[in-house]
Every structure is written in C-alpha cells, then in structure tokens.
Symmetry: C2
Subunit: 221 residues, 2 copies
C-alpha cells in the first residue's frame, strides 16, 4: 500500500493520445521525471485513485486533463497489460487507452512548451525505446486505431468541429499510411450517417471554397 492513502496500488491508466500535426499522425509522449525509468519517454499515465476516479476510464480522462489541460474527444479501452515483471515496483495492471485530440486542442498543447510532454510522429515513436512495456502498448494502440479506420470508422475527433471532406480524407490516409482515393471516399461519405454538410458554410481561402461538414449528433467513433 502506498503512503499517500491510495488503497489499490499499481493500477494504472496509460494513454496513447493521438493528434494530427504537420509531421503527420503524432502521439503524445511524456518524459518520466521519477524513478523507475527516469528520463525515459513513456505514454502519459496515472495511477487509479479510487477516491477521485469513479472508474478507471475517469483516471484516463484525468491523466489527459492533467497532462495537456484539455479533454479528449474520444477515449477508448484497448487492452489490459498485467504482471509482476513489467514494472519494477511490483505486480501491476495498466489499462491502455487510445484517445484522439482535435487539431485545435492539439495546437494548444503544442503551445504549452512545458518540455515535459511533446508530440512525436507515431512512426518515429514506435522506433524509439520507451519506458516499461510502452513500446508494445503504442504499437497496439496504433493497430487499434488503424483497424477502426480500416473498418470505416471516421476519426472525426482528430479534426475540428467543422471540417472539409479533404481534411477527413487526409486524416484517414495518414492513419492508414496509404493514399485514399478521393472519388470512392466521397462516394462513401455521401451515404455516411455520421457526418453532414453544414448548409452555407465553406472553408474560405485561396482558390475554390470547400463545403464544411460536422458530426451528426449521435456520432460515435
């Protein structure tokens, strides 16, 4: 039992928080300040505090709030990692979460410059050596995200509240790591219940304006 009144030690929520930046699909990494594995990069995580967290899902949300100061649009369980050897402090349970952050919010995070957390290209991050078993975790979170998008889920939570179809297409293409055909994509989107055009709203800018879309009320990633 830990000294600070936490009754259930070594139950963690670890979060793979994704966003889209200039470098492409990125994941938020945090540099560990304490032992064990101090100074290594890790997925941001936090210990379950039963007094505060109504559920472990709430722990994950709290971790995101604490690390980046905003609330993620979509937080989902991926898999539980458990065992005696994965953390030197003892038998531990870590529930891995996959979360998505909108471009707006991700930019706010990037502006923090706390030096404790930073966005790293997902591809680069998987090559990095991470603390504990977070390398495996990141790989699984990525696979989880890719599988969902491949099965035609729309990663709207990575985008702003209104977005053009090309924004969405680019997001899918970045996640999948392969180009997405414009015509077939738009054909699918016409029949898609999850999004709808916002009448009269266009992305103004250079060249031809683009119709803007938004998620329909009941949308679930």
């Amino acid at each position: 039992m830990l000294s600070d009144g936490v009754i259930y030690p070594l139950v963690f929520a670890d979060v793979a928080l994704f966003s889209i930046q200039e470098q492409g699909l990125c994941v938020l990494l945090a540099r560990r300040t304490n032992e064990p594995e101090a100074n290594k990069w890790a997925l941001p995580g936090g210990i379950l505090k039963p007094k505060i967290d109504a559920s472990l899902d709430q722990t994950a949300l709290r971790v995101i709030r604490d690390k980046v100061g905003v609330s993620a649009g979509c937080v989902e369980q991926v898999r539980l990692f458990s065992g005696e050897t994965r953390d030197p402090r003892g038998y531990s349970l870590s529930l891995l979460y996959c979360a998505l952050l909108s471009k707006d919010q991700a930019c706010a995070v990037a502006g923090l410059k706390t030096s404790k957390v930073c966005w790293v290209s997902a591809e680069l991050a998987t090559a990095k050596e991470l603390a504990f078993d977070h390398g495996v975790m990141l790989a699984e979170a990525l696979q989880f995200l890719r599988a969902k998008v491949k099965h035609r889920a729309l990663p709207l939570h990575l985008l702003n509240a209104t977005f053009s179809l090309l924004d969405l297409q680019d997001a899918c293409s970045l996640i999948l790591g392969s180009p997405v055909d414009k015509s077939s994509f738009r054909r699918r989107m016409k029949a898609e219940a999850g999004i709808r055009p916002v009448p009269g709203q266009f992305r103004e800018g250079a060249y031809r304006p683009a119709q803007l879309y938004q998620a329909t009320p009941g949308f679930q990633f």
Copy 2:
C-alpha cells in the same frame, strides 16, 4: 486487504464462456454460493492472485479450468468494468473475457452435473437477471462475439478439431442469429487461409459424406 494473503483485492477476471449446444448458442452461468448476491446467477469469475497468476489473462484461464475442468480454445479481453458501486465489497475492477469452448469439451462440462454451473441459451441468459453488472457484461460479450463473426472471423474454437463446412456455417448462423447463405459461405471458405480440408477425411453417417476441415496451424480467431 483480504485475510488470505491476497494483496490486490477486488481485481477480477469474469468470463463469458460460450459453446454450441442443442439449444443453440449458450453461455456458462454459475450460481453464486457466497454473499454478496448469493444464489443469483453470474458469469464465472475469480479474483486475481498475483502469486499464482502471471497476468490477469492467466486468472481467466484459471477460472475456466476451475469451473469446467478444461481449457478454452480462445480467451480474449473485452472490456474493463470498474467503480465503487458495482460490487458492495468496495471499489472493484473486473476485466470481462470472451471465451469459446469446443463441442467436445462443452459436452464434458454438461456431463459434470455439479449443479453449480450450467449452460444457458445466450438469448435466455440476457433476459435473466444476473448478479452485479453481469447482465451488461454478457450483452457486451455477445456483441463482441457477433462483431467478430460479422467481420468474417471464424469461430473454429466452438467446433471440434475437425468439422464440416456446414458445422461452421451453422455456428456462424447461430452466433449472428440470422441464416447464412450456403453458396456464398462456401465460396468464401475456399479462399480462406484459416481452414483447410483434411485430405481423405469425411464425416460418415447417413447419406452423402461431408469433407472434413481443420484449422491451419497459425489460425487466430
């Protein structure tokens, strides 16, 4: 902390163990013998014993061994349920597992007649009132199983080591709750890497013999 030396109380593995019986798709329910919720039906579950279980997945396997005396072919995490109110003993974590048992093994279980566990039609079981939040759990486990089969995963672990294509088709159809077209199904199976015909092996019996199949070595549900 519990008295019997278990250090991490209230971490459970609860298992929705499915098999195919005469009544169709069935789930194993256990009648609770102890408080709380004594005498209610529940998904079989067990507490994490860090000294014994190398991981919580091992707890799930142990639960299955203890309850039915055989090892399940396929055990997968579905979702973690957690919170203060779901179990009167205090803040608890329950990782729900979905597991499949082959017909051979399921029959052995049915023969046990321990009166502590029994196979209940999945449809009926969802209508029953179960202990704790096990009703929600069962619903999610079923949805998990259906989603996998809908996405063309093959529930081979519900069948014996060798099986006819009709056995497999019937299993899919029972899980999905809707008929599956024979011709399209067999067409798919011809191109399916997960199974292969066993040369020269046929189901003998009344009328025309059926070619038997088996899972290919690397098969994963």
